[in-house]
């Protein structure tokens, strides 16, 4: 049995997608994230830009690309709020970096691993968000960790459905 190094395995298992997927999926995530809470009200327990960040970071296995994608999506999310731009950007930059870094080490084809990773990275993103808001900006914030757990669970369930769908669009060599 041949043993592959992390770098060679990354090159071997790297996934590529059509440019349209790279462009449309993040935009669709942003649009739905802004539109669905209006329909679902307070039951909108998900963060679609985070799920998309995790997916592409895991698939590409490139921490730089994961960080940049997470940063762009986070900044776009911030631009739609009334808060300073960069809060979500920092959180999702970190999430993208961690997802890609961990993606090098584990088999990301496994659905259970994807589920757990999305769950954990959602919580990491929430913690980073609260850290930035509370300690860097000094804003008071209502920290409802039960809601964050629900949101992480919602992200995981969405990832369970969305990742296989997006996998179908990857370019086969």
């Amino acid at each position: 049995m041949s043993v592959l190094s992390a770098e060679s395995r990354r090159e071997f298992e790297i996934h590529r997608y059509p440019v349209l997927i790279y462009a449309l999926v993040p935009i669709a995530a942003l649009v739905l994230q802004a539109w669905l809470p209006r329909v679902m009200g307070r039951f909108a327990w998900f963060d679609l830009p985070l799920v998309v960040t995790v997916f592409f970071a895991l698939s590409r296995r490139n921490p730089i690309q994961g960080s940049i994608l997470g940063g762009i999506l986070g900044i776009a999310e911030d631009a739609l709020t009334g808060h300073p731009i960069g809060i979500n950007g920092i959180a999702k930059t970190l999430v993208g970096y961690l997802a890609a870094s961990v993606g090098i080490l584990v088999n990301v084809e496994n659905h259970a691993i994807r589920l757990v990773m999305t769950f954990v990275l959602s919580l990491v993103g929430s913690m980073t968000y609260f850290f930035v808001v509370r300690f860097l900006l000094g804003m008071t914030i209502d920290t409802n960790w039960l809601m964050e757990l629900y949101k992480a669970l919602g992200n995981s369930l969405i990832a369970l459905v969305l990742f296989p769908l997006l996998d179908r669009t990857k370019i086969r060599d």
Partner: protein
């Protein structure tokens, strides 16, 4: 060195991205540092550009989704789900008739109130023009209570315009784009509205708290503030017209940062979580509508006739004789004029006069006078003898006796 950069390039890129964003946040906070972090005191040009780009990216699909959703729901509501409509129509007609009667009564009261306000030179802003808009999206996060409407600068929307519903106020326009606008809800932490408690007349500023509930801040503890009291706009913020419903007091909580102050939690009158249609107040005017102005003119006319009446009564008073005329000797005063057909009547003579009878007080003796040195015993005053002469000299003062 090169190997270091190559080896740690991922980490270095991550650090560069994080540091750049932290610096960006610091610059934004510095720009809006007036006590409220992330307030709407004005974004920088680059930040505004980013917001514009994001909005341009997200709003068109949102509008399309909203339109298609409205189309499907409209199809269902207008063609499929039409059962019991006839009965509902009859019920609604009855309600309309009843409301018309109520409205007629309320209109009379309102006109009277406005006339009184006009007489007091009270400047009130009235809603003159509104633009109906539909909500098409949210900020996408629980922490920022802003939402987007499908009307923008091309529809006459501008910053700081009030956004209301028939139930109560909703928020104000924070940012305007060509076809959409961002509304800052009253339960956001960076919002602010001047409000007044209807019964206790306590004023304060309404802001959102960390939990997303609107609350009146910086209120001195007052036992009179009770749950259920209505909260209205105070009109001093130059955004919301005065007297609009805001909500009712839900609870009163001690201010954790300052003793003696409380935060009044308000249950908003508008359903902030389920907003579909809103009204943007695009124009207010400090004048009354034409019909009210006609009423005011009539009121002014009646005020003028009152002035004339007052002038006439003053003239009549000048012609009538007074009781005391200055620069005239006492014996010639109109009061002593015997030719007066209705002379001043004198009091009747008392049958049993005492010391309280006018002109019949007994002169106190030295025994009755209080001792000046305070050493002598005070004697019981002698019983007064009835005076036969009602025109006796008035009593001298005890001090005059002792002198």
């Amino acid at each position: 060195m090169e190997s270091f950069v190559v080896r740690y390039r991922n980490l270095l890129v991550l650090l560069a991205l994080l540091v750049a964003q932290i610096l960006g946040i610091a610059m934004q906070v510095r720009r809006s540092a007036n006590g409220q972090v992330g307030s709407d005191s004005g974004d920088g040009r680059s930040v505004r550009l980013l917001r514009y780009w994001a909005n341009s990216l997200v709003s068109p699909p949102e509008r399309a989704l909203h339109s298609s959703g409205s189309g499907v729901s409209g199809l269902w509501e207008n063609y499929v789900d039409l059962r019991h409509v006839r009965q509902q129509n009859a019920d609604l007609q009855k309600t309309v008739d009843r409301l018309r009667l109520e409205q007629a009564a309320l209109l009379e009261d309102a006109k009277q109130g406005q006339r009184l306000q006009a007489l007091l030179h009270f400047q009130e802003k009235y809603i003159y023009k509104t633009v109906a808009a539909q909500t098409i999206g949210t900020s996408g996060t629980d922490q920022s209570r802003v939402f987007y409407i499908d009307k923008g600068k091309n529809d006459g929307i501008d910053r700081d315009m009030a956004v209301i519903t028939p139930d109560g106020i909703v928020g104000k326009i924070r940012d305007v784009f060509p076809h959409t606008a961002q509304v800052l809800a009253i339960n956001d932490q960076s919002s602010g509205a001047g409000v007044i408690l209807e019964t206790t007349r306590i004023r304060g500023i309404l802001r959102g708290n960390a939990a997303g509930q609107p609350q009146v801040e910086d209120v001195i503890r007052d036992q009179r503030i009770m749950p259920g009291e209505t909260v209205l706009t105070a009109g001093g913020d130059e955004i919301f017209p005065r007297g609009m419903p805001v909500g009712v007091v839900q609870s009163v909580a001690n201010d954790p940062e300052r003793d003696g102050f409380v935060d009044v939690i308000v249950k908003p009158a508008a359903h902030l979580d389920q907003l579909d249609e809103v009204l943007v107040v695009t124009s207010t005017q400090p004048r009354f509508p034409p019909d009210q102005q006609r009423d005011m003119a009539a009121s002014e006319a009646s005020k003028g006739s009152e002035t004339e009446q007052q002038k006439a009564s003053d003239g009549m008073a000048e012609k009538l004789p007074g009781l005391i005329v200055p620069n005239v000797p006492t014996d010639q005063q109109p009061l002593n004029d015997t030719s007066n057909p209705t002379p001043v009547s004198k009091p009747p003579v008392a049958i049993h006069p005492d010391r309280f009878t006018p002109g019949n007080a007994t002169t106190p003796t030295t025994e009755d006078a209080p001792a000046t040195d305070g050493s002598g015993p005070r004697k019981k005053p002698a019983p007064k003898t009835p005076a036969s002469n009602p025109n006796a000299t008035p009593p001298a003062s005890p001090q005059g006796e002792n002198r």
